[in-house]
Symmetry: D3
Subunit: 257 residues, 6 copies
């Protein structure tokens, strides 16, 4: 069987969270798909502010670039598609430019999945301060028209796993309110919420979408269709350029992308 | 290996076109996926007008209902998800209500796939008269914001296969014009164009998306995630109702959905 | 006096509801206007779901086609314009294609009438599950920008006349809430609510618009202006096509439209 | 027969143009409708700029107020509805506040009529400088979503009747270009173009809508339905207020509206 | 030092309100800026309705025209930019056409200032009936996308200064509710609220923007950049035209603008 | 005289470009304003791709943080407001979070200035690949509604000063085409185009807006009004967080913002 390898890059430096994400991804992967998790070595411990978003983008670019340009070996297969496991504006465009394989953003994957399951969807996320970031991403992604609301539980990213029962209860509370206002599907608005969708769907009585698992099928699908990012416009190959402090990312004669 | 069965319903009564669609779908299906094509027995020979759209919806509902309620046998496995292979407004909402498994529309699958591959996308379709139908579907689907244009080749649905070289040339002409106007990805705007995307992508030098192949991964993904249409709103179970002339679709005590 | 004949097609098979609609229409018709009601002979007893919407479209097309192509006699005058008396997406586009005279949809007629009477309007309808259908129609009709909300009373179409006092009370409750949120005009969101607008306007103290009566003047106006559906684009004459199971609708050499 | 009287107020001080407008209106009025034209005595000779728009609003308010508060006699019947015969932003909201009967704006009447006849409509108007004014009115009226374009012929309002053949030719040129871009219906974007729609429709082969004739049926319809402007929001009765220089418009104890 | 002179025109005939506005403007003017207040001599005592809006536009045009065409003397310097101190649709476009220097509208200045300070902004205004007027202005100005809400305190313009403590309390109540709904910045929605922003900002704990003070820096900025209204489109020079009753505004051979 | 100090941070590492920007800013600064330029020490030589955008954000954050937290001395005054001199998405939100003084983005300043000068504006920028970036920023900023187009000259950022005559000619060509399509004002879509607006305005015969000079007045205005970024929502103070590799940006007990 021709195997297919998907890399998932976490947006923060928490290796346990990368594991949570990878575990969730594996539950839905096709039988011939291998999931590989990557954790940035620089950047924020969690992404909950605009400054942290900016730093995490560099951490993600750095980690993906290193993995993508590393020698391919039996233990270290070539990545066929990347999933960006951060909710909000965490650098999907830069990755699309950086690598020659498809890139899927979990914010967008969750939204398009939700839109296939009901009329309007709501996003339940972590801190209120991230709500406008998620709105902005949905807007620029052209996926905001059927978004009923984005609301925060008040829990920080790293608090999600502290007390799973509390986390689930807070999510279900907001989800129920969203259904009352006319939403029909709920998106879990944080990579760190990965793995909870099946149980929450059952408890809510309406679909709860995990962006990580939603992204896996989308990434597989792009690979199987032989499609990758268009180079006809904004993602055209980069020209050589001095990148002070980030020389490893400079474009060379024989560039990977 | 746990197998997964996807039904694809054509929107017209042309069995050869169903075969074209099924053939395209199989090129991208996961190793454990079985594709089953279904052709309506009532309805138009091709769907290119508003009257034909309305009739095709009934043909699609009828065909899916019969297949979905038929006894499950080894040769006749249960369908895990349905793909609706018509571009435009061909009854996705009714199917979502009718069956208890996910339904994926190729118009929408093509759009979300295109949006994962570039900034703006264009749709190249058949007759000019179908352009507003596709616009309307993208608008109600909440997927119009990044649509650069929808344009017609002037070819009827049943003319597409008459002269494949001419069809490809007309598609590539419109596609090239769309790239010049700022589109970065092209969607093939007709189920009958299925199977041409790989070659056209190569010739155009930018991604060309086939809604049929795009829908396969999306359908697989929904099944693997254990997700189906929300019953919390507009797709709530139907109540018993007299349906004169369509008694086979009336809801019974023990309804399938 | 040159007389003017308007056909109103109900979207369900209920003859009493057609009568309610015709009675309402007559209260506002010009002195030279004749109103003729038509009830589909196939389709749902009432339209409250997506499946029923699809079936009702075929019922409406069938009924209008038969009436429109029947021989003109003194008792059976030629119809100068059609009103489609269903709220939501019940096939206006197909009728526009089918007949050579103007077609007016009550959903749209109510909205444009409401917009002439105040800043924002709200729609009060039957079951919550129909809310997204009405939203979708207003969106594709380009009439959603000033829609404050669409809300359901929870009453089914066939329950509206069961207890008129309860119906009025539920409508007025929702209407009052809409005014509190900033709506200035209310639309009655179901053909079966026809005939209640005058009394409800008085009780509410703000305009309540009945789509049926709103459509009558619009239909008269189009006829008096000598205008009918444009054939320059999506409503161009249909080409000959095999329509299995609906052969009566196939286009012949000498087509009516 | 209970008669119905409609006042049409021109927006400029040209009595011949008022006559052109009234003549057009009469061709479509119902048999029981009387059309009365009113010409402002103050304001611009034609409305083609923002300053002139502001002045014309005061001219219109003044003229309508005088006519509406004049004693009712046999020769001077009560007006049942007003039509505002200026294209663009010429004071519809103020009139709605001023009088207790319905007010119909020809810009809006043309747009809603066009939207009943085809997918998208284009407006052909006079000078290019008025294009943004018409856009602004369509936007605030919530009727811009299906507007394909607004384009100017380059003719001033008072030049329209100078050379009717040239005027028609310029309109048809722009109209044809709009159809080529996907518009299906054309609106005549100036009150002074009234009376040309039937002939232009025939020559173009697609519907050409005259806002004046479109407004007549809409006004009749509102009267027959017993509907008038909502007083529940922005058009609530005005409070007493000193209006220096416009004392005739001050609200008194026993106000008309 | 080269001095810069800004005229601020009030939209009502209240000289004390003009003084309040001028006082607020002076607190933020650059050291080389002179602020000159102008009060219309015709028009409404306050602007709270559509009729009053129309009349105030003429009062504003008249007052600005007289001041702008008056002889320049040491005591009567040339005005380098105008600020229109009315919230809503009070004639900015006409002023832009009338004078050859920049014109800044406080509604728009407040909105763009608010948008520089937080994600979404809310407007707190006077009477509820003015809410749709402000919405309409923000919409046509292209500044509505980040407007969370416009709400009225229920206070009339001339009641604002009657009991300053009550006014502040009502504004803070609405402002606090807006923050709870997700607004991050508040705009004071009336020229008559000028001068309260600093104190309210402190009490609210979030920015409160005064359109008058916001407009001062914008006007200064345009002058310092040597920019004025484009004459390339809708604000092209007016042509000669008879303006009955407003002859002073007729364009002459040697026009000021 | 109480002086006011504005920092302008370039988005690339080119000190000559910073000087061009500072020179332009000084031509419009108020007499009491001091302009200080800051050049990032890490990041790209110019920003023309998504990867470079991400890197430049970190360079900008780093440079502003160092300058903003440096000891205040006579030669090194406290900065009262920051201008971010990059066109597109270059980190305005992160700076707003980082510093306790106002932050003005030149993309947004140019747009709001253009909107004060004419109906619709066009942006003329460098490479076509940056067009979607600028669109995205205008969209999330809520300033896209009146944007007629964004077009690229094909010149790279660092090519702009190579041949000034060619640059001006290319800008004027695109600007003229935009006016023909209905734009009335042009924005120079790159910080590196600073200083050309006055001459280009004269040559074009319509306003050409330089985002850098537009931002100066906006920054001064915010400072004079005593306003700064709202802390009530998405820009609330950051919580302590480990920022691996960027420890200098970690929030401490006694944080500056």
């Amino acid at each position: 069987m021709n195997t297919l390898t998907i890399g998932i890059v976490n947006v923060n430096t928490s290796a346990p969270m990368t594991q949570t994400i990878v575990d969730a991804a594996r539950t839905v992967a096709a039988p011939d798909t291998t999931i590989i998790g990557v954790t940035p070595t620089i950047g924020p411990a969690s992404v909950e502010s605009h400054v942290e978003t900016a730093l995490s983008q560099v951490g993600v670019i750095d980690a993906v670039h290193r993995r993508h340009t590393a020698p391919v070996t039996a233990d270290h297969p070539r990545i066929d598609a990347w999933i960006l496991a951060g909710y909000g504006d965490t650098g999907r465009e830069a990755l699309q430019e950086l690598v020659d394989v498809p890139v899927v953003d979990i914010t967008e994957a969750a939204a398009v999945t939700a839109m296939a399951l009901g009329d309007r969807y709501a996003v339940v996320t972590t801190l209120d301060r991230t709500v406008p970031m998620i709105h902005a991403r949905l807007l620029t992604a052209g996926l905001a028209a059927r978004c009923e609301s984005v609301k925060g539980t008040g829990l920080g990213v790293l608090e999600l796993e502290e007390d799973a029962a509390r986390t689930d209860r807070l999510i279900l509370d907001l989800a129920g309110q969203a259904l009352d206002r006319g939403a029909e599907v709920i998106c879990l608005g944080c990579g760190g919420m990965a793995g909870r969708a099946r149980e929450l769907t059952e408890r809510l009585g309406a679909p709860v979408v995990d962006g990580v698992t939603a992204a896996v099928g989308m990434a597989e699908s792009l690979v199987r269709q032989g499609l990758t990012t268009s180079r006809a416009g904004t993602y055209a190959p980069r020209s050589p350029k001095t990148l002070t402090g980030f020389e490893q990312l400079e474009v060379r004669e024989k560039e990977m992308s």
